[in-house]
């Protein structure tokens, strides 16, 4: 190889080299993120795993978690997509204030959210007392409470994601649909929604994952009753105090679900449509 040939190759490698000042903290940070997960895997009692997974309490918690997280996601879609549309397309005073309010649950400590829900939907709460007096319905410490708590903390994820997608959508496609005879609702269902579908799906997945991991609001508002309100994170916390291995197995399942969700999000919805 001649000198003139090696030169560009060398320069290319040089330009790719990461400065040490960036590399060192990056490596430490990565280790910090990855090591706990590795530790979890290392401590997993693999031999007992099948028997552990078949335990009825474990299955009940898993079933409840999947059910309530899915229900919370469905509720978030039903109400969150219209909210996102209002925030992205609506033209009314106080829109920015409304947007800030919608995102409050993102930064609010979940326990505070649980307390707030209890104050509204509790038996002495504004809505809760009315529901109890009129219909004899009690919400706190039920599976419904779990779903409401999850919806409260996870819906903002969906709203933010869908609003971003709606803002990025090209309005001219909607105009084209209108010239073809589509009314506003048809434009929304046949053009807007399909075109922002990747954003809606990404938001729904984020929302579902957040609901699945919900702990603080749930334990405050719904309590910790096995089979009824004891979701996976609650079961992990409880198991930690009595049976470390059970906590590890439960955590492993949550980790597996998270990784699967993340992987599918990566492959399908973050790729270019």
């Amino acid at each position: 190889m001649t000198a003139s040939n090696t030169k560009p190759a060398k320069r290319k490698r040089q330009s790719r080299r990461v400065p040490a000042a960036l590399l060192a903290p990056a490596v430490i940070g990565l280790a910090f993120l990855i090591l706990p997960l590795a530790g979890l895997l290392a401590r997993t009692p693999w031999a007992e795993l099948p028997a552990r997974l078949a335990e009825p309490e474990m299955l009940a918690a898993l079933r409840l978690s999947l059910l309530t997280a899915t229900a919370a996601t469905a509720l978030s879609l039903l109400f969150g997509v219209p909210i996102a549309w209002l925030l992205a397309r609506g033209d009314f005073p106080g829109r920015s204030v409304l947007r800030a309010l919608v995102t409050v649950p993102l930064v609010l400590p979940p326990v505070v959210g649980g307390v707030a829900l209890l104050l509204v939907f509790g038996r002495n709460g504004i809505i809760g007392s009315w529901l109890y007096d009129r219909f004899d319905i009690t919400i706190p410490f039920t599976t419904t409470a779990v779903i409401l708590a999850m919806t409260f903390v996870s819906m903002p994820f969906l709203v933010v994601s869908v609003e971003g997608a709606l803002r990025g959508a090209d309005l001219r496609f909607e105009e084209a649909a209108a010239t073809l005879g589509a009314g506003r609702w048809t434009v929304f269902t046949h053009v807007t929604l399909p075109m922002v579908a990747p954003g809606v799906l990404a938001g729904a997945v984020l929302c579902w994952a957040r609901a699945l991991g919900e702990f603080g609001a749930t334990i405050t508002f719904a309590g910790n009753f096995p089979g009824r309100t004891q979701t996976m994170p609650l079961a992990v916390y409880l198991a930690l105090q009595t049976d470390l291995e059970a906590a590890i197995v439960l955590s492993l399942i949550l980790l597996a679900v998270s990784v699967i969700v993340l992987a599918s999000l990566r492959d399908r919805w973050t790729a270019t449509p």
């Binding site: 090209d170 001219r172 496609f173 105009e175 084209a176 649909a177 209108a178 010239t179 073809l180 005879g181 589509a182 009314g183 048809t186 046949h190 053009v191 399909p194 075109m195 579908a197 449509p273």
Partner: protein, 355 residues
């Protein structure tokens, strides 16, 4: 206002947005294609959007086949109820739908059943020469194919008025030629009025029965291709068709230009007038020519560049003009910027017409 029959389009479009204003009267008969020709930013697309109902009128009215769609006397009819088909500049085919579903979109919205709409869409794809492309997504189509799907989509909705916004602008030269010929055929078959917006004079001349030249939101000239190109009334059109154009006051065969120079034409005329002549009519000499009555003046060569198989010389002086010479003549004259030269145009080459 002239009393047009209720058939076709009768519109007076006034749209104001800040300092920008368009004020345009349009009458298009059924089966007629009118081209809105003008430079970018003249307000052509705004006019089209106002017709389609995508832009509100500040004043004026839009009536289509006798029905008022917009105006002071009635509430504005929304775009979905106007039955006005639009072919957008970048087509705007719905990316999540196949070609056939894109074309079927209009018929479906007008209440046609799913199967029937698909059959109709399939027939339209056939008509635009895209049989077998129905299952493709827009991004799997070439520019020319996407253009034809967009046309089929607009026509399949059975529009009472067809609007095309720069329908050929996004295509490369070769595709453009084929697509233009095909588009012309479909426009001829369309029984309603049609309006094509373009900044390309060739598209306008080939596709339209009548041209409306739009500048700064106003119609500055109107007529068939022949009259507009032979007797341009603005610098924009003169440049497009390659003519030297001047405005002045005619008195007999002499036209005194605003710059003070005087041109002599063959026909006599009185009052405000235009004078136009092609660059090929200009002859260049190293010294003052003598002989028959004609227009001669001394000019400075401002620039020389290749134009087709001859050279175009830009002349500065009392009369700014473009002149075409053969390369041989240019070599003989030794043309270079800054050089003083004599220019001559025969009176019979100068077209004079009232302003």
């Amino acid at each position: 206002m002239n009393a047009t029959t209720p058939e076709g389009l009768d519109a007076h479009l006034v749209v104001e947005r800040g300092a920008f204003r368009i004020d345009l009267r349009l009458h298009v008969a059924p089966g007629e294609t009118v081209a809105l020709l003008g430079p970018n930013g003249a307000g052509k697309t705004t006019a089209l959007r106002a017709l389609a109902g995508l832009e509100a009128l500040t004043d004026g009215h839009i009536a289509l086949n006798g029905a008022v769609l917009d105006g002071a006397a009635c509430s504005t009819v929304p775009p979905e109820d106007r039955r006005i088909g639009v072919v957008f500049q970048d087509y705007l085919l719905f990316p999540h739908l196949t070609a056939i579903d894109n074309v079927a979109f209009g018929p479906r919205r007008r209440g046609t059943g799913r199967a029937e709409a698909r059959a109709l869409a399939s027939a339209w794809l056939d008509r635009v020469g895209l049989a077998g492309f129905g299952k493709r997504r827009p991004k799997q189509l070439s520019g020319g194919q996407a253009q034809r799907v967009a046309l089929a989509r607009a026509l399949a909705a059975d529009p009472a008025l067809l609007l095309l916004d720069e329908p050929l602008a996004a295509l490369d030269a070769r595709t453009r030629l084929d697509t233009r010929a095909e588009l012309h055929r479909h426009l001829a078959e369309h029984t309603g009025p049609a309006i094509v917006v373009t900044h390309d004079p060739v598209d306008a001349l080939m596709l339209a029965d009548r041209l409306v030249v739009v500048e700064d939101g106003r119609a500055v000239q109107e007529g068939d291709a022949e009259s507009v190109t032979a007797r341009p009334r603005t610098d924009y059109i003169a440049r497009l068709v390659g003519l030297n154009l001047y405005r002045g006051k005619a008195s007999g065969t002499a036209i005194r230009l605003d710059s003070g120079a005087v041109l002599t034409a063959a026909e006599a005329l009185e009052g405000e007038a235009f004078a136009a002549f092609p660059p090929s009519a200009v002859a260049l000499y190293r010294s003052e020519p003598d002989g028959s009555p004609r227009n001669t003046w001394e000019a400075t060569v401002a620039g020389v560049h290749r134009h087709g198989d001859h050279l175009r010389v830009q002349l500065d002086g009392p009369l700014r003009a473009a002149a075409d010479v053969t390369p041989a003549a240019a070599a003989q004259l030794g043309l270079e910027p800054g050089q003083r030269i004599w220019a001559a145009v025969k009176a019979t080459e100068i077209r004079a017409y009232p302003a």
